[in-house]
Structures are given as C-alpha cells and as structure tokens.
C-alpha cells in the first residue's frame, strides 16, 4: 500500500525537479545568441577612443584594478554579504586575461553574464545593468580593452560561502532575478531622457548600489533606486527617489551636473563609495551625457518618506555631544552648524545629517575622508578621521547632538550602530 502511494509521489517529485531544472536552465540561456566565428570586429582609433570613454562611464577600472596594481589587471576584492568576489583581468593577456576572447564572447559576458568558458558569472559584476548596454558600445569597449598592455596576473579565487559558491545556486539566482536586456527600459519621452536612462540604467549601473536587495541579493523590483546597503553593509547608498535622501527632483540641473562631475554642489558633496564613482568615472562624463543623466535623475518619481522619529536620548548624552561638538567639530562646521561655504558643509538642515539611516554619518566621523579630487574641484577639503580619538559612546553622543540641534529634529544614534559600523568597515 505504502509503495503504491510512494511511487506516484516520487514520480511527481522527479517530474517537478526535472521541470525546475529545465526552467532554470532555459531561463539562464534566455536571449543568448549563438557565438559567431570569433573574427575581430572592425575597429578604428575613433572606436577605441569611444570605448575608452564608455569604459570610464562603466567604471570598469575601479573594480578591475587593485590599489597600486596595473589598470584593468583585476584582483580587487568585491565585498558582498555572501563573501568576497575577486575581479578578473581585463587586459589582453592570453593566459590570464581576455587575450583569447572574441567580441561575441565579450558581448555574452556583458549582456548575458556568461564567461568565455560557459561559466555563469557572479552578479558582483553588474551584468544585471550592463545587459542594457548596446552591442555597438560593448564592441567599442572591447576594442579599447584590446589596446591595453597585457598583464600576466591570475585572478584570485572567489571566497564565497556555501552554497553561494556553486554554479547551481547561481543558476537559480539568475532564474529568479536576472533577465537579459531588450532595450525597452531605456525608451523615454525625449532623446535626452532616453540617453540619460541608458547611461544610468546601463553602463552607469546606479541600481547596483542604489536599489535595495532582498535577502538573496536580488534587486527589489518594487523599489528601484530606493536606497540600499553596500560594501559589505558598511555604507548606505541613499534613495534617489526620496527628497529626504538623495533625490534631486528639486535641484537645478546645474547642481546635479556639478555633483556628478565635480563631486560637490551647492547642496551636497559625495563621500564613501560615491566619492570613488565620481573620482574614477562620472567626472569624465562629457557635457551632453552629464546633462542627460542629470535630467533623467531629476524626473524620477519621488516617494514621500515619513519623518523618522525615535526616543530622545538619555539625559546627559546631548550635553556630552554638545561638548564634543564644541571641541572637535565647531572649528570647521561652526557653532550653529552653519559650516563655511565652499569649504566645510553646513550641518544644520543637511539632509545627509537628518537621514533616517545614520550609517554614513557614523562612517564619515570614524574614517573622515576627502571629497574626490576632480578637474572641477582639484584640491578638495576633507574631514579628519576620529576613529582613534573618539569612543563609540562619544561618536553616538556627538551625532545624536548634531541630529537634534538647529532644528534638525532627527532621532539619536545608538552606540550599537557605531559599534556595528566599526566592525563592518573592518576597523
């Protein structure tokens, strides 16, 4: 009797597994075109120059270069919640780089997230966004990469936790969260907006950081560009669809362009991972592309955010915070948090100070940092690190004070947040 029931169940289960495997496998090959003969694409100095520009806007070198290492030779660790992924060598070295790659294979990596040998690529390589890049642009980038001096450097092995380290897990992830681009996401009302959408959603891969991810690391389609944790949860990439965070719908276009290309505008400066993006990528945007990107960012629908409220801090914390502020911060940021225009940002009314998520504030106090040195702002001002001179209690107190003072009215910062931020940044 038992066997009679078990038989059909086992059969049904086996059939389900087979269907699932087939579905996952089919979804993973969606939109793949057969590889051609592998003959090199027609190239010219103009195409190479264009490819160099596009590689800048895609910020390829940033991840594919180790600090102090040869450009594009790979080896940099990309921290994810699932472990570290090491970037590959994009120089045309035969043994360790793209030496034997064809334009078709490069296109398949960019568009379908599949490597030359057929392996699925980890989405730390943002093919979830690069998939929107056109074939023509992909070929130009490839032509440019072919002109680099080959560097022999074997990529390091990824250090991912099980089961994320397996191709099977990756295939399931892709079946759930990745569809190759078909071009329709970039169609907008005007050519400028179309260009802006193409740049931000494709090469610019803004969503890779600014769109929140679910527990499995999939981009959440219900909150595009709605803000998320990045760099091993060490920084908060603020929402681009909230005026309370980094939305720019109320900014003049010139200010958005300034922030993207100089790293600082009348309203804000970039810090943490965004300083790197401006330094190595966005400052090179040509004027037209910068305007297109700004225009697209400005028209993003904004979501209303309920004001963050929290319990007021225990008595004594604000007094202690005020004391620290007076001793350590007021010299630059002013007694009333008014800052010094052109040098040190005002803290009164500053939305980066008031944002519900205080993680970035904590990082800025702990590690300091300079605005990126750009052609438009070659000698930026910076913030000293306080990691060694202020305890977790002190950092929490001074930030709670700053968030409370001058009408900022934001909830306090807890000691645990500071402690966690220190740990996440590995310090």
């Amino acid at each position: 009797m038992k066997r009679r029931i078990f038989g059909p169940i086992a059969l049904a289960a086996a059939a389900l597994v087979a269907v699932a495997v087939y579905a996952v496998s089919a979804l993973n090959r969606l939109g793949e075109t057969p590889l051609g003969s592998g003959s090199p694409a027609a190239t010219s100095p103009e195409v190479v120059a264009r490819g160099a520009y596009l590689a800048r806007i895609g910020d390829c070198a940033s991840c594919h270069t180790q600090p102090g290492g040869a450009d594009y030779a790979g080896g940099r660790a990309i921290r994810t919640p699932f472990g570290a992924v090491y970037s590959s060598n994009l120089t045309p070295d035969d043994a360790t780089g793209l030496g034997h790659w064809t334009p078709d294979e490069f296109w398949r990596a960019l568009h379908n997230g599949r490597s030359r040998d057929g392996r699925l690529l980890y989405p730390a390589f943002p093919y979830t966004e690069y998939t929107h890049v056109t074939r023509e642009d992909a070929d130009a980038i490839f032509s440019y990469l072919r002109t680099l001096a080959p560097v022999r450097q074997e990529p390091a092995r990824h250090q991912l936790d099980f089961p994320y380290s397996t191709q099977a897990a990756l295939a399931v992830w892709r079946a759930l969260y990745f569809r190759p681009g078909s071009g329709e996401v970039t169609q907008q009302a005007s050519p400028e907006l179309t260009r802006g959408a193409y740049l931000t959603q494709g090469l610019g891969h803004c969503a890779a950081c600014h769109t929140p991810r679910n527990a499995l690391g999939g981009l959440r389609s219900d909150a595009p560009l709605g803000g998320g944790l990045v760099e091993g949860d060490a920084w908060w990439a603020p929402s681009l669809t909230s005026e309370a965070q980094a939305g720019v719908s109320q900014w003049a276009e010139d200010d958005v362009v300034a922030l993207l290309t100089r790293g600082v505008s009348a309203q804000a400066g970039v810090s943490g991972p965004m300083a790197e993006v401006v330094f190595s990528s966005l400052q090179y945007l040509d004027a037209e592309d910068a305007r297109a990107m700004a225009a697209w960012l400005r028209q993003l629908p904004q979501r209303a955010e309920t004001a963050a409220h929290g319990k007021p801090p225990p008595a004594g914390v604000l007094e202690r915070g005020h004391e620290i502020y007076h001793d350590q911060c007021a010299q630059c940021h002013g007694d009333e948090g008014q800052g010094k225009p052109g040098a040190f940002p005002a803290l009164a009314g500053n939305r980066a100070v008031r944002m519900a998520e205080p993680l970035n504030l904590v990082q800025i106090v702990l590690h300091g940092g300079y605005l990126p040195a750009t052609a438009g702002n070659p000698r930026p001002y910076g913030m000293p690190p306080f990691r060694q001179s202020l305890s977790d209690d002190d950092v929490a107190a001074v930030l709670s004070y700053i968030r409370d003072a001058w009408g900022n009215g934001a909830p306090p910062v807890g000691i645990v947040s500071v402690h966690r931020a220190r740990e996440r940044a590995g310090s």
Binding site: P67, A275, V278, A343, G369, A373, P384, Q388
Partner: protein
Amino acid sequence: MRNFIRSALLACLCCMGAVWAQGASQDAMADRVLPCTACHGEEGRATPDGYFPRIAGKPAGYLYNQLRNFREGRRSYPQMAYLLTHLTDGYLYAMASHFSELQLPYAAPAPATAPQAVLERGEALVRHGDATRDLPACQQCHGQKLTGTEPFIPSLLGLSRDYLSSQLGAWRTGQRHAPAPDCMAQIARHLSLDDVQAVAAWLSVQAVPDDGKAAAHAPDTLPLRCGSLQVQLPPDQRGEQR
C-alpha cells in the same frame, strides 16, 4: 604733514598688500589639510611623545612619496589609504609642499632610557654602519646631521622611538615598501631586531640641529640605488584657483 600722511597711507597699503599676498600664497592649504593635522599635530608638528610622526619641515619629495606609498599600498595604514584614495598626484604634492615649507622649532628630545651599551651600538650603526654586513651608515644618505637632504631623503631626528623601530621593523618584515629598487628594505633585511632597537633608541634622544632643516642636496655618491630618488615630481598646484 601731508607727506607724512601720504607715506603712512602708502605703508599701510604695502602692509595690506603683504598680508594679501601671504593669504593668497597660503591658498587655504592650512584648512585643506585639517584631516592630516588631526593626527600629525597642529601644523604637522607632532612631537615624539605620541606615535604619529612630525611631517612639518620634511622634504616635499619625501612626503609626496609617502603619500603615494600609502595610497598605493606600499605602506600599510588603512586610515591613510582611505583618506588618500580619491586624490590626485598633483594634490598630494601640493599637500607635501605645504608641510615641507612649515619650518617650525622642534621640541627637546625625550630623555634616554635605554642602557648605555644599547645607545652606543645605535650610535655606531648610525655613524659608521657595519661593513662586515654590507650596512652603510645612516649618515651616508640622511646627511651628516641626519636631518635629511632635499628633496627626497627624510630627517631621522625628532621622531619617537616607537615610530622609528616600527618603521625599520616594517621594512624588515616586508610590511613597508618603497618604489624599486627599495634600498631601505635591503638595509633593513641586514638588521637584527637588536640593531633596530639600538638605532631607534639612539636616534630618538638626539637634539635636532638647525631646526631640522634638510641639506640642500644629497651627497654625490650614495651607497645604494633607491627608486624613491628617481620619482618625477608633478607641478605644484597650489597657485591655481579653485
């Protein structure tokens, strides 16, 4: 009387001009380098009672090389690397030049606490090296007065014992590097731990002559080839308007 007023006015104008010129030449660099002075002391004149080294008055080329070494991972101090990641060579050199021009008095050295024998061993190594181990004397490169030479070789005086011994130690163990050929790494590999302690102990208790001013140029012949002396310095950006 009219002449007097006129010359007084003229004098005032000249003074204002001088103040203006000084303000412009400073170019707000003092404000721009506040992240540095948080650890390296006001005007970069950290004293040897703390760990962080003084940077005021060090040769610009030396400071520039160190900023690049930190940024590019040849020296390992994550906090420095983080601050410098997104800065250009030109700006790093502007910072280096700013601090190198701050010729400020030095504090008296710390009193000697190491045993006499250790100090003597340190002094002998500094002044004479050890030919049997291929060790040149510190003075052969860092100058007769050990206050360094322009533009690349640093002073060895006015630094804490901890800082000196940890730097020599870092070279020995391969934690600290310089552009190849890394002459200091070659030297440090020939030093024993006791040598390191002795050299650091003696250097840290020496008074700083001539307010630490580096000699105008390096000796014609140096005992080793050093990559850090071949570095091309970028143009000084400080005069540029933002």
